[in-house]
C-alpha cells in the first residue's frame, strides 16, 4: 500500500523540479559547457571569438591544465587560499556555535539577545569594497590607526617605535584578510545555525531538561545532533565559498606583498583579465578548481553522512524492488 503511494506521487517530483532545470538550462548551462570546452582550446586575446582545439594546432589536449598545475603562482594561490580559509573558518564556526549556544539557550535569561542576533549579521550587508577600504585605513602605513596606537603605547614606555608596514609582509596580510573574512561571515554562519535550532521541536529540549541535562550537555548532546544537517550545509558551503574566495583579498591587497593574498579565484581572474586574456587557461583552472571542490565536498558528505538514513534508503529500495518483483 505505502509503496504504491510513493510510486504514484513520483510525477510530482519531476513536476516540481522543472522550474529549476529550465532556469539552469537557460542561464547557466551554456556558459558552463562553453567554459569546459574552452579549457581544451587556444582561445585567448580580448574580443577574440575564434578558437581551435589544441590538438588541431599541434599541442597536447591537456596543455592548459598542465600549464596551470605546474605554475608556481597557481600553487602559491592554492596554498594561500587554504591558509586564509582555515584561519578564517576555525574562529568563524567557533564563534558562530558559541553565539548560537548562548542565544538559543532557553534557560539563561540573557537580555538583548535579539539585538545581538540582529547586529552580528550586519557586517555581511556591507560591501566588500567598503570593508577593504576600512581595513586598509586601519592598517595604513606609515599613518594608520594601528600604527598610531602602537607608537602611542611605545611612547608611554619611553620607546620610539617605527611604524610597521603590515601590507608589505606575507603573514600580516594573510591574517588581516582572514580576519576580514571572519568578520564578514561569522554572523551569516550564526544565522544559519540559529535557523536550524529554531526548527527543532521545543519538546526535545523540554525532555532534555527533565532528564536533568545541563546546558553544556544539552547543547552538545541535543542541539548539535539535531542541527547536523545544517552543520553539513555550513561546512560544505563554507568550503566552496572559501575556495572561491575573491573580493576581500582582491580589494584589500590584490597581487601585492609578493602574492601574499592571492587566491585561486584571483589567479583565475588574473589569467582571464590580466592583459593577455588567457581565457583558455582561466577555464582550465576553473575546471581544476571544480574538481578539487567536488572531491573535498564528497569527502565531507561521506564523513558526515546520515548513517541511519542511508540504511533506511537501502532498505526502502530493496522493498521497492521486492514489491515490483511481486507484481
Amino acid at each position: 500500500m505505502r509503496n504504491k503511494k510513493l510510486v504514484n506521487y513520483a510525477k510530482y517530483g519531476y513536476l516540481f523540479s522543472i522550474p529549476f532545470i529550465v532556469a539552469f538550462c537557460l542561464f547557466t548551462l551554456y556558459p558552463v559547457i562553453y567554459t569546459f570546452i574552452i579549457g581544451f582550446t587556444d582561445l585567448k586575446g580580448a574580443g577574440n571569438t575564434e578558437w581551435h582545439f589544441l590538438p588541431t594546432v599541434g599541442k597536447n589536449l591537456f596543455a592548459n591544465f598542465k600549464d596551470v598545475l605546474t605554475s608556481g603562482t597557481f600553487q602559491k594561490a592554492f596554498k594561500n587560499t587554504w591558509i586564509i580559509w582555515i584561519f578564517n573558518f576555525i574562529p568563524q564556526i567557533g564563534f558562530a556555535l558559541l553565539f548560537t549556544a548562548w542565544f538559543t539557550d532557553r534557560r539563561s535569561k540573557v537580555k538583548g539577545t535579539g539585538l545581538f542576533k540582529i547586529l552580528f549579521y550586519m557586517p555581511n550587508i556591507i560591501t566588500a569594497a567598503t570593508l577593504a577600504i576600512l581595513f586598509n585605513v586601519l592598517f595604513g602605513y606609515p599613518k594608520g590607526a594601528f600604527n598610531d596606537i602602537f607608537s602611542g603605547v611605545a611612547k608611554v614606555f619611553g620607546v620610539t617605535r617605527e611604524a610597521y608596514n603590515f601590507n608589505a609582509h606575507e603573514w600580516p596580510v594573510k591574517i588581516i584578510i582572514a580576519f576580514v573574512q571572519f568578520f564578514q561571515w561569522y554572523g551569516h554562519t550564526m544565522v544559519n545555525l540559529i535557523a536550524g535550532v529554531i526548527g527543532i521541536s521545543p519538546e526535545i529540549f523540554e525532555a532534555a531538561e527533565i532528564d536533568g541535562a545541563n546546558r553544556v550537555q544539552t547543547f552538545f548532546k541535543v542541539t548539535i545532533p539535531c542541527i547536523r544537517q545544517i552543520m553539513l550545509f555550513v561546512l560544505v558551503t563554507s568550503l566552496i565559498g572559501g575556495l572561491n574566495m575573491f573580493d576581500i583579498p582582491q580589494l584589500y591587497i590584490g597581487t601585492k606583498a609578493n602574492n601574499a593574498g592571492l587566491t585561486t579565484n584571483m589567479y583565475i581572474r588574473n589569467q582571464a583579465f590580466g592583459g593577455s586574456y588567457l581565457y583558455n587557461r582561466a577555464a582550465a583552472a576553473s575546471v581544476i578548481l571544480f574538481i578539487i571542490i567536488v572531491i573535498l565536498s564528497s569527502i565531507l558528505f561521506y564523513i558526515l553522512r546520515d548513517r541511519d538514513e542511508a540504511k533506511l534508503k537501502k532498505l526502502r529500495k530493496q522493498e521497492l524492488k521486492a514489491a515490483r518483483k511481486g507484481l
Binding site: A46, G274, L278
Partner: protein, 480 residues
Amino acid sequence: MKKVIAGVLSVAMVAAFAAGCTTPETDATGATDATGETVETDSTDATDDTEETTTAKQEMTIGTGAEVINLWSFTNEIPNMVNQYVTQNPAFGEKYTVQCTIIATDGGAYQQALDAALVAGGDTAPDMYAAEAAFILKYSQGDMAKFAATYESLGIDVDAKAAAAEIAPYTIDIGTRDGKIVALGYQATGGAMIYRASIAKEVFGTDDAAEIENIVGAGSGNWDKFWEAAATLKEKGYAVVSGAGDMWNVCEKSATQPWIVNGELNIAPEREAYLDIAKKLKDEGLSNDAAGWTEAWYADMAGTGAKGVFCFFGPAWLINYVMIGNCGGEAEGQGTYGDWRVCAPPVGFFWGGTWVLGRDGTAHAEGVAELIEWITLDTSETGLQYLWANDKMGNGAKDTVASGVVMAKSDGTLPFCGGQNIFPAFIAGNANASGKAMTQYDETINGYFTDAATQYAEGNLDRDGAIEAFKTNVSDNLSF
C-alpha cells in the same frame, strides 16, 4: 524596539529619496498628484538645493536628431563635452542624437562591457568610445585595435591638423596603429616636478625654478644630481619625495623600450633602476615611505607628514584635483597653499589621460568625426581644448591640453603656485614624454614590478630574488 528602528529608518529613507526626487521631471509628476498648495511649499523648500543641482545634472541623451550616435565612456567628461558642443552648434543636435553610456572602470567592468558591445556589433554598438591611459593601448594597438577606425577613414585630415595644432607627440604615439592615427586625447598629462618653495629656500637658498632645475639636474635624463639634492635635504631634516611610488611613474614612462619585445619580457634599464631607487629611498631614509593615494601621502601634501616633503612628480591634474584640496588651506599662508612651484623634472614622463576613438564601420562617421575633431584637434577659442585649458568647462581647474597651440594662448597662472604660470613647465613635460614604450599589458606588469621593488626595499627579497619573482609573475599570468 526593532520595529521602532525599522520605522525610523523607513521614514529617513523616504525623506532621503523624496529629497532626491526634486528634479524637474519628478516635480512635474508630483504636481499632478498633489494639490497646488503643497507643491508650492515643496518647491520653495527645496529651491536652494535643486537649482544648482538641476543645472549641474547632465543629460545622457543629447540632441534630438534622427541619427543616433552611441557614445561610451567611463566618466561624464566626454558626455559633458558633447553637451557643450551641441550648445555651441545647435545644428548638430538637430541632425544627431548622442546616446551616452557611462560605465565605471570598477573591476575592469568598463572594458569588459565595451569589449562585449564591440564584438556583438549591431545598432547599439558604440560608435565613439573613450579609453584611459591604463588601457588605451589595448584599443589603439592591442587586441581590440581591429575595431578602431583610423581618423583618416572617418574623414578627418588628421596628419595636417595634428601638425598644425602641435599635438603632444606622446599622445600621437599612443594613438597610432601602423602609422595611422586611431586615437587622440584632449588632455595632456606631461609631468613636472612640483616642489615646496619654502623648503627650497631654506635648503638651497633659492626657490627660483630655473635654479632648482639646475640643482636637481632637470632634463639630464638621470638621477645623479637629484640624489645629491636629496642628501642635502636629508641633512636639514626633509624628505625629497613622499614615497618611492612617486618616482615610479617617472621611471616607467621615461623608458625607451616596452615591457614586451618580440613576445619576450624585457626590463628597460630606466625601469630596472627603480629597484635601486626604492631601496635607496628606504635604506637612507630619504622619503616618508608613503604609498600613493594613502593618508600619509595626502598628509605630505599638507605638510603634516613625519618629515617635510620637498617635491611630488605629476601632471597638472595632480595639482588641480589632488594637491589643492589636500594642502590644508584655501589661501596663501594656510597649510602649504601658495608654497608650491613647478619646474622641469630630471627625467621626462607623463601620467594618465583619456583618448577618444571611433568604431570602424560606424554608420555615422561624419558626426563622430565632427565631435572627435572638435575635441582633439580644434585649436580655436571655441574648441574644446581651449575651453578645457582655461577652466570654461566647469572643472574648476586650469588643465593642460594636448595642443601646443592652445597651450601657448592659454594662461596657467595659479595662486596655489604662488602666482606662477605653471603651463610652460608642463608644455616642456608634454614635449619630453614618450609614448613609444607602451603595451596593453603595462598596467598588470607595472603592478608586479612595483611590488617586486617594494619587497626588495623592505628586505623580504634580495635584488635577484625580486627580479625572479617578477618574471615568474609575468610568465605565469601573462604567458610571456
